[in-house]
Symmetry: C2
Subunit: 255 residues, 2 copies
């Protein structure tokens, strides 16, 4: 059993309004890859967010009093904090240098995933531009999936990932923020183990496992390989949703 | 750029004292894989723990008063809880059904990684047997690495993984518990991004990204593919340690 991940070469810098399915189809073609049933494309959120025009210029943002107050606590730009609050449901931790929130899409992340790096901006000083996550990354993944599948019966998964920090451990890892056409969580409860016991609580976050593995090929800095083709994903494809991965607040021991 | 992960077929059930490097070398040979510089072998902790004889029969365990008390809180077998405490430095959360601890090796996990499933035991009732993690998984990885490398100059990484639950998100993912010969954390601080900014805080948990990706091929239940060969790991190999991945208690906002 083999899992093959291929970084697609030659993806250009993405600008608002770009046709990502067409760009991905061209990159696949250049890489000599013809999509097959069961394949998955893993995309860095930045290309999706840029294509969707989620660029914001900080000089256009007026911070609320709450943002100004919180910005003082976390020692960040009040305009940046205003955007983080607009993109969030709840502040989970605020400390100097750290602002951890529950994003509107449900996951917990630093700064609601808003980032300065690798953003050129549209005019003025590039330092003033930031990039928000897609408004609904499951919907973004589904649009890209449909764009690639066209009218065919191809079974394809599309996974949108970002780099997230974790509780307890150093370093970021690639993590799912939206998906279409593949399972996020695979339920093995009730499947017997090698000796016939019933596994009691095993649910595998298959999409997050793939997100992390594919992230290895994306780099984090100057290398620009924001799309990875995956062949050999070992679970059957089906419709999938980010919500499968989000632990409800009531059952979360670590907020 | 391609990352290829291959589950090694035909690994037998491992018993205490088994020679894992020899078993892995045979499995690689059967798969037609000749190790090359930069390759990594990812191993499920269970085969390492079993080879190291980390099987314990619960009928031989006498719970301490503290274990009896905690077992009542978490609704688990007091003998099992005794072992969890012996393997831990600290209890992080205790709720009915959940016992989250800081393992002696430094990471946070449920039940200190002690598991019933896929354990046959050595005598008596298989239900009485549990499996502890390796005593020092970095050292285990290094022994296996040296066993495979022999006297050669081969640059090989060995990564030992377990399935861990996470804060905030549903489902387990493959996670590093020990390693040798590859970086756990890759520091990109100071590397310029596409537009020449300096990335400020990016450290990538490269070993955990690989752990998660390789875990996809291991299954969690009756499939027995506890070893995965990796070609194309994109970071230079070097000596590495689990401790790189462990966030210090002082900087951890989520204990």
């Amino acid at each position: 059993m083999t899992l093959t991940l291929t970084a697609l070469p030659g993806i250009p810098l993405i600008r608002p309004g770009d046709d990502l399915p067409a760009i991905l189809a061209a990159a696949l073609s250049r890489a000599g890859i013809r999509l097959e049933d069961g394949d998955v494309l893993v995309l860095a959120q930045k290309i999706v967010s840029k294509a969707e025009g989620r660029l914001i210029n900080l000089t256009q943002v007026t911070p609320s009093p709450r943002a100004v107050d919180l910005a003082g606590q976390v020692e960040k730009d009040p305009r940046f904090v205003e955007l983080v609050l607009q993109e969030s449901r709840d502040v989970v931790r605020a400390r100097p240098g750290a602002l951890i929130v529950e994003h509107k899409l449900g996951f917990i992340s630093a700064n609601a995933g808003i980032d300065h790096s690798n953003v050129a901006g549209l005019w003025g000083n590039p330092e003033d531009w930031v990039l928000l996550l897609p408004e609904d990354a499951d919907a973004s993944a589904e649009r890209i999936r449909l764009g690639l599948v066209g009218g065919s019966a191809l079974k394809l998964g599309v996974l949108i990932i970002d780099s997230h920090g974790r509780a307890w451990r150093n370093g970021v890892i690639g993590t799912t923020i939206g998906l279409a056409g593949l399972p996020a969580l695979v339920d093995l409860r009730g499947v017997p183990d090698l000796f016939g016991y019933r596994l009691r609580i095993t649910q595998v976050a298959a999409a997050d496992e793939l997100a992390a593995g594919a992230s290895l090929l994306m780099g984090q800095a100057a290398e620009s390989t924001p799309a990875v083709h995956v062949r050999g994903f070992p679970y059957p494809l089906r419709e999938g949703h980010l919500s499968e991965l989000i632990r409800s607040k009531a059952t979360d021991l670590f907020r």
